[in-house]
Symmetry: C2
DNA sequence: CTTGACCTTGACGCTGCGTCAACCCTCCAT
DNA sequence: ATGGAGGGTTGACGCAGCGTCAAGGTCAAG
């Protein structure tokens, strides 16, 4: 006959845990000896260890009690579910490990090389330093949130720069934002190009839009970053609305052209 | 400028979590707009994602705030510590996975093959079915608690059965417990053999005793199991005490022989 | 003007115990 | 027999990290 302390030691748990399991009805209360002490048979150790094995696997105690009352087939099924959870959890921790590694790699200075290459490419087609910095800030945000998927996206972005229209757009925007003229006439040209690009994208990729709501977040994020208090940005949005498009990075056709 | 909901969505956390981080001072409160809404700059998303990355790695929030205030070197050091924790945690989950697998393999019927072989060996040297069952129950307990280490112990147990004295002991004990005589004279013979074995073990393995307190638990466990209300067991303990030994499975020499 | 989707603060709930407090039992050495 | 160490007993509060009402105020769209 075991005391609660011995039982706990054998099972490798604390006395408090055993009492807790009694309280919630997970482990049946044993007989008491004349002085009121709980007295356990050795089989209680097996039950207790079974409980701990499941609890260590991350199974909530409430579910453990249901499992112990279940039949063998249901129990085996539950075990399989738990095993899958464990597998997922291990995978989660492994990606988490990779992510914290990137965290130390220089706060936010060290962007993935793919992004750095993209920024270099931007510079080489004539984008201003200011423009490149703005892009970099945006990609830092994106890289922070989707460190794994960003690699998938860069090839597309780099490919876009083969389009002469896109190159022209970046140059015009660079000129606009490098000066300090608020109502630059080139804003209209930029808006024209953007509308044209939006038109093309709209015609080609209607299907692509239907992917996932998740995929829209990056664009919204860049949107929000861009609108950081510059009247020229506001003016550009206005010009786009005139041309029948709302949004900034991810355009949407407006219902009908404003009067 | 982002609302709290947008920020939360971008960072992949809940609104409640963001407010919680404000409450505990982990994330600085932003300016409010005229209506009292919190308004975030895009950089807040980076801070928030950094926090989540660490929190997902299992770092307590209180420690995260200290980390964010720390210098680069201390930060990098902390990251390394976290990485180690993650590695350990992954390993823990992997062993946990193995253990729950064993749980489903037939409750407690499927002992490790090494133990099954040992029990067969016991049977073949003439131990009674009842004796073998008692041993099996004991090893079920041990296997539940130390599923990995039990494999290390079995070879020693099997080797013991090569000792003719041990074989004799098992046979005598089998005879004693197979009948229902309470004061079997063969109890004395059993006690003699056990005392002799204890003497040998004491002489040979004094050093081994100094291993770890942890290693004593299995023996204590078997002890506790054995003393499950049989007067013959009590009698045997008494006879052993007379011969200067206490305990059952793991013997200790008493200070001086009782009068 | 309403409706629905946001935002605000405040407060309680949840898990799985750790950690007092205040007291009782048992055993061992003196 | 006596005292102290080292068990045991119940009861209660504390902790992290939010989830989840409650009871409102705000904003954009129809």
């Amino acid at each position: 006959m075991l005391t609660i302390g011995q039982l706990a030691a054998y099972a490798g748990v604390t006395v408090r845990a055993v009492r807790h399991y009694h309280q919630i009805g997970l482990l049946p209360e044993p007989e008491r000896d004349p002085s009121g002490y709980r007295r356990y048979a050795a089989t209680a150790a097996v039950s207790l260890i079974k409980i701990r094995t499941l609890a260590d696997a991350g199974v909530p105690l409430s579910q453990i009690s249901r499992m112990l009352e279940a039949e063998a087939s249901a129990f085996a099924e539950a075990i399989r579910t738990i095993d899958n959870h464990l597998r997922d959890e291990i995978e989660r921790l492994e990606t988490s490990r990779r992510h914290i590694g990137q965290l130390t790699a220089g706060d936010s200075l060290a962007l993935p090389p793919e992004v750095a290459a993209y920024l270099d490419r931007l510079r080489s087609i004539g984008a201003s330093e200011r423009m490149v910095e703005a892009e970099r800030d945006g990609w830092i945000l994106v890289a922070a949130r989707w460190p794994d998927r960003i690699v998938e996206w860069m090839p597309g972005k780099v490919a876009q720069l083969d389009d002469p229209q896109v190159v022209r757009l970046y140059r015009v925007l660079s000129e606009i934002f490098d000066g300090d003229v608020e109502d630059d006439p080139r804003l209209a040209e930029a808006a024209d190009i953007m509308a044209c690009l939006a038109e093309q994208a709209h015609a080609a990729g209607e299907v692509i839009l239907g992917e996932e709501a998740d995929d829209d977040l990056p664009h919204d994020l860049i949107d929000a970053l861009a609108v950081e208090s510059d009247p020229r940005v506001e003016r550009l949005r206005e010009l786009m609305r005139e041309r029948g498009w709302s949004g900034w990075n991810r355009m949407e056709r407006l219902a009908e052209p404003p009067a």
